[in-house]
């Protein structure tokens, strides 16, 4: 689906006006998770690799940013940069290990590696263990702009999201992205064409991990907190769900999926129905797999194609 310039401008404008109507902290949460899901989709949707441990990268970004902001007084942009880099490094190591196996095993290996990191973070002194890193200062962007103001922070988060979204879009539509898709469609063929498939998978893994870290770093800034929840397998499952529900392999799918899932959680959490979040997510999983595999955006695209072309 090619996007026209007017359409893009319209969507970007919508994002600029959104905080006037909707609670900005909620919007920022959606944007962080949307970025996370976009990063994840680069692997699942465009490379065909199901990582079940992506929370490890989100959490790493969050912890590193949080730790630096609390202890060294870095400005937020540098804090986020460091968090993103750290997630990229962890991604580079994990990617090397994980691409040794395929399919289901890839999923299990990533899940187990993420759990390894979960336990490390549980015990490492710098993460604060079960307490998490609390009271992370939001700081002054470039030393100038006070981010304790939710509206200012929203526009920063929005800019970060647009950057990440653009990066995924560029990657997918580059020659590199074409090769990833070729691997997804038919790996033996890609190998026979002489591509070093493991290398390509690894690079995609690292980009995805770094972007997930970017999402985590940003999230830490928004909530002023990094906690074990950010590295828990539950979150790794959530991002799979967001992508599956929105439509894997579509550019806008993860954004839509993240929006829906975060809205459901926000609506139910804290209330009497808090535990239904897990049940509803499970049911959505089952329905998506059985009936609805293209996800919301995928199905819409199909409808539009059928009716207008």
């Amino acid at each position: 689906m090619k996007m026209t310039n007017t359409k893009i401008a319209l969507l970007v404008g919508l994002g600029l006006l959104a905080p006037l109507v909707i609670y900005p902290v909620f919007l920022m949460k959606v944007l962080c998770f949307a970025l996370f899901a976009c990063a994840f989709n680069l692997l699942l949707g465009f490379t065909g690799l199901l990582s079940f441990g992506h929370a490890a990268f989100l959490g790493t970004g969050g912890y590193v940013t949080g730790y630096l902001m609390i202890n060294t007084g870095l400005t937020p942009e540098l804090g986020i940069l460091c968090g993103t880099l750290a997630a990229g490094v962890v991604g580079a190591v994990y990617g090397k290990l994980a691409v040794k196996r395929e399919g289901i095993y890839f999923a299990m290996v990533t899940l187990a590696l993420a759990q390894l990191l979960f336990f490390v973070y549980l015990q490492a002194p710098f993460t604060g263990g079960e307490d998490g890193l609390q009271g992370v200062p939001r700081g002054f962007l470039f030393g100038l702009i006070d981010l304790t103001d939710n509206t200012y922070l929203y526009y920063v988060v929005y800019a970060i999201f647009l950057f990440g979204f653009w990066l995924v879009y560029r990657t997918v539509h580059s020659p590199f992205g074409q090769i990833l898709k070729a691997i997804r469609e038919n790996e033996p063929r890609a190998i026979s064409l002489g591509y070093n498939v493991s290398q390509y998978k690894w690079v995609a893994f690292v980009i995805s991990a770094a972007l997930a870290g970017l999402a985590g770093s940003t999230k830490t800034l928004v909530f002023q907190l990094a906690s074990l929840n950010d590295v828990h397998w539950h979150l790794s499952g959530e991002v799979v769900l967001m992508t599956l529900l929105g439509g894997m392999g579509t550019i806008a799918g993860p954004l839509v999926g993240a929006g829906v899932v975060v809205t459901i959680q926000n609506y139910l959490s804290g209330g009497e129905l808090g535990n239904y979040v897990s049940i509803i997510m499970g049911v959505i999983f089952i329905i998506c797999v059985l009936l609805f595999r293209n996800g919301i955006v995928g199905e819409l695209q199909r409808l539009i194609k059928r009716n207008f072309s």
């Binding site: 040794k100 590696l113 535990n275 089952i286 595999r293």
Partner: protein, 295 residues
């Protein structure tokens, strides 16, 4: 206190024994996973939820129907196995033959639903289940006090694992199963009802998890997330052992339990991570796993 080369032997043996107990559960769960994988080629993400279901079923049987532990040990695995049969027939059958990632996602969804359901009804904190009267005491070993029930866990799971191994490797039914793993179409051609075997296999694999759940109920408190925590470790064990053999799954399960126990003694801080670290080493040296057949 007996020491050898500065090692407190009592403490060490104690931790080894606890490791062996944990290993018994790992073995039962990874055995179930391996059996299901052998025939269906899917990884059952709901295996942990089935283990949890087994523990809760035992608890409910006792509290709602007055069914005691020993009866539950027989009835609950059957009931959980039956739940597995339903899941296979209704949910997994329609997507059989498609990319196995979908079955992984589907069973993950099932796990979430079950876990959420039990959290909603019983809360996250866990229900107590007492040790059956006959096994309440303990034996004073020279190096530690061994509660009878813990000893029973090791014996019972080794027996069940052994019987399962025997059934699959040495009996006619097992031969069908192995043939089905190699070439289902051929087996079908011989007039064997392969879909039925598939269903029963899934039920059996899941039933093993249910059995483990009943065994676990008296020692771990019966809680909704008991399965998911266990399952991820079992996944790592499966990656370490490879899915190739039934015996491999059992041995890796027990062995990893013992390694965990050793770590608890020598360097307790690493006891939660050691199995994952072993997995990393195995991935580097022998990517297909210790008993794995595929390249």
């Amino acid at each position: 206190m007996a020491t050898f080369l500065g090692i407190n032997l009592f403490g060490l043996f104690g931790q080894l024994l606890v490791g062996l107990i944990n290993g018994s559960f790992y073995a039962l769960l990874s055995l179930g996973l391996a059996i299901i994988f052998g025939l269906l080629k899917i990884i059952n993400f709901a295996q942990g939820a089935m283990y949890m279901l087994g523990a809760f079923a035992a608890w409910m049987a006792l509290n709602y129907f007055g069914i005691n532990y020993w009866a539950a040990l027989i009835l609950v695995p059957l009931a959980v196995g039956f739940a597995g049969v339903l899941i296979e027939r209704v949910l997994l059958r329609p997507i059989a033959g498609e990319d196995h990632l979908y079955s992984l996602l589907l069973t993950f969804g099932i796990a979430l639903v079950l876990q959420g359901l039990f959290t909603q009804i019983y809360g996250a904190s866990g229900q107590p289940y007492s040790i059956p009267d006959a096994l309440k005491g303990g034996t004073k070993l020279p190096f530690m006090y061994l509660p009878d029930y813990r000893a029973w866990i090791i014996v019972a799971s080794v027996v069940v694992c052994g019987l399962t191994w025997f059934m699959i490797e040495k009996t006619r039914l097992g031969a069908y199963l192995r043939a089905g793993t190699e070439n289902p179409a051929m087996l079908q051609a011989f007039g064997i009802n392969v879909p039925l075997i598939v269903t029963l296999t899934f039920g059996f694999g899941v039933g093993l998890a249910g059995f483990a759940g009943v065994m676990a109920a008296p020692v771990y408190s019966v809680s909704p997330d008991m399965g998911s925590n266990m399952l991820i470790v079992v996944f790592a064990i499966v990656v370490i052992g490879g899915m190739g053999s039934i015996g491999g799954a059992i041995l890796t399960g027990l062995g990893m339990g013992i390694i965990e126990g050793l770590t608890k003694y020598f360097y307790p801080e690493a006891s939660t991570t050691v199995i994952f670290a072993v997995m990393v080493i195995v991935l580097l040296l022998k990517p297909a796993g210790l008993f794995g057949k595929e390249a």
